[in-house]
Amino acid sequence: MAKVRGTGFAAVNYPTGMHLGGDPTQSLIHMTPAGDFVVTMASVDLGQGLRTVLAQIAAETLGVPYESIVVETADTDTGPHCTGTFASRTTHRAGNAVVMAAQEARKAMLEVAGELLEASPEDLETDGDGNIHIKGVAEKSVSVGEVAGAAHFGYGKTIAGRGAYLKPPSPMDPETGECDPDSTQAHACTVVEVEVDTETGMVEVIDMKSVYEVGQQVNPDLVKGQIVGGSWMGIGHALYETTAPGYPAIDPAPVDFQNYLQPGAAEMPDVTCEVLEYPAESGPYGGKGVGEMVTNGPIPAIVNAINNALDVRITQIPVTPEVVLRALDEKKAQAGA
């Protein structure tokens, strides 16, 4: 039994937002009489943490505590339109819509605060802890809660905002392909070490190191969650997963998890990742999308590592043990010929 090791890597870029644009998301924000804010969206949280990220963005723009933000999602009766949660678009599209809505709501909030403090709204600033004061004069201050009370019960005003983010659609020239496809590009480079058993054809990913560049991170822990989860999914795609193991034949056709193979915890190597931040011009606080690109580096890096380990040329996925053994047989046949 021989086990051989190899390394491989891959460099990838990934567009943020739907290809060619034209994929709007809108946001509504209003203040409650108690001074917290409700951000209403039709966007859908798939577990990536959309509600968290949008609350952070809203808090940042409004200048109020993160804890005072409620994010409501996924209701067509209450939420203004969102194209959907895909295409690495929600942090960027929904995030930008929330920034716009929050700017409008903040303006209304500062107008009421200005009346209470007998100051011009331009002279006011928020401290992020729930207070508004005159710039440079911390004691001339009013709480966000007091502003809410005054707005609702004193002045009869709404403190609310609307946001709509749209990257205008850019048609693709059918002849040349000329177009403006994306809002920005994120980047990644993944380095992998594998060990291949030349008797069984089994591949083990020993180590995976990645560097990502995703603009300004809104929430680094959640970015890391995407990267680690995607690293694992990349191993699945590279080595195991297919609904048609005999592709292009339609049989066999796995219908359960015993036959649709995925890596388990045992197959998950140590994953190291580093994140660079080059803020995107168009992103909310410079953010780019990261949700989809996270399998794209690991897959080719793994196959490159297998080719490096065995000195073969495999060009398909998944690289199952049969694929490995076939490549080794071909190599042997060529050496003998």
């Binding site: 859908v44 949660t85 040349t176 590009q185 959640l222 048609a244 996270v294 040329r313």
Partner: protein, 448 residues
Amino acid sequence: MSMKELGVVGRNVGQRDLESHARGQTTYYEDVHYPRMLHLKMHRSAEPHARIVSVDTSAAEASPGVVCVLTHEDLPGKKVWNGLAAVGVGPEDEPILAFDKVRWRGEPIVAVLGESAEAARAGAAKVEVDYDPLPGVFDVEEAISGSLPALTAHWPNNHYIYPDDHGAAQIRFGDVEQGFAEADHIVEDSYQTSPIEQAPMETNGCIAKPGGDGRITVHTNTQAVHFARDNTAAILGIAPGKLRFLGGTVGGGFGGKVDVAVEPISVLAAMRTGRPVKFKYTREEEMQVSSTRSAWRLNIKDGVMDDGRIVARKITSYQDSGAYLRFSSYGSMKHAGHMPGPYTIPNVWVDARVVFTNRPPSSAMRGFGVMAASFAIELQMDKVAKTIGMDPWQLRLLNAYRNGDMRAHRKVNEDAAMVETIQAAAQLAGHELPAEYQAMTSWDRKAS
């Protein structure tokens, strides 16, 4: 570039749903319980390609616990559709319930409503369909070779037709043939990916609940509530305002929950019966019926100079769309627009074709059109490096796109940081780069 000082953006504030997840209190679409709820199961095609001779639902209707069955004749609005019809993509080619033909194994034919999931399943198994089998089309290059029958009248050569009668989403930048003529080396290869299931732990599903006021609330795990609502209304020919689509947290998406496959028929059943209707894909349906990541085949030909500069890249791609269009024409445009990857190459030629076969329709998954592109390009880069005897890190850094470069789709590059990302990865992996490669930046090509 420096941003203004940030407060809570950039901070690790946790993830809002974690505690409810850990307590098992997060609400997913199927965590609402309604009395008198009906269950919907689908009778599906057993053949990948066949003419439907007859459909007999009598035994299903007589099956214990079956409340009603729905065939294409019961559809009040559209019989065929495409999810992007509203934005001008077409033609609408996919039957909501199959009528004259089936074009993939698993295609829905008859919906059966039962008092329990088991009653619906037993009823669905009793639907009798008589088929006249037709030859199957499975290989993408064979499919468009002219030797096999056309799957539908829409696509005479089994591939999608883009505006101006183009058979592919194309990129034409510079002159690849001239690039090949000037190149010191030609490097070619073919690449193949497989259909992959998004495999969210929660399968596709919805519960349609009549409100008694003429409106129907649909609890759904779609990734796009307005899109699903508006398409459902369009399919059924009803006012969108009659529908409220309500999501919660979705049990994983990865692109696998944008088909709008369960909602229209569930709403129709709820309208018919006045009762709540649940349609949840089994794991088997999720794997073999819900659309997968498309399989792609790519042929790449590069012209390369001795010093490592790639001067021409020609790519022909085949996206296996399965039997119907769904979002494939979008996927191939995104694929073509992504080429030639994060590299600046002066001559680029791309033909990205959408090919129809007798497979389950494919669709989006995490990195639609781009994953296959990145896979093939990064394997190709290693082959180029090996062919010319160059360090693969240096090859990529030398060719990596810079800010200000014109990309193949004729947009000036911005926000690029590929060079810095590769350099940092080399350092993380302990791969030493020569000084001139360490000095490269995305803002300056001079260093190279």
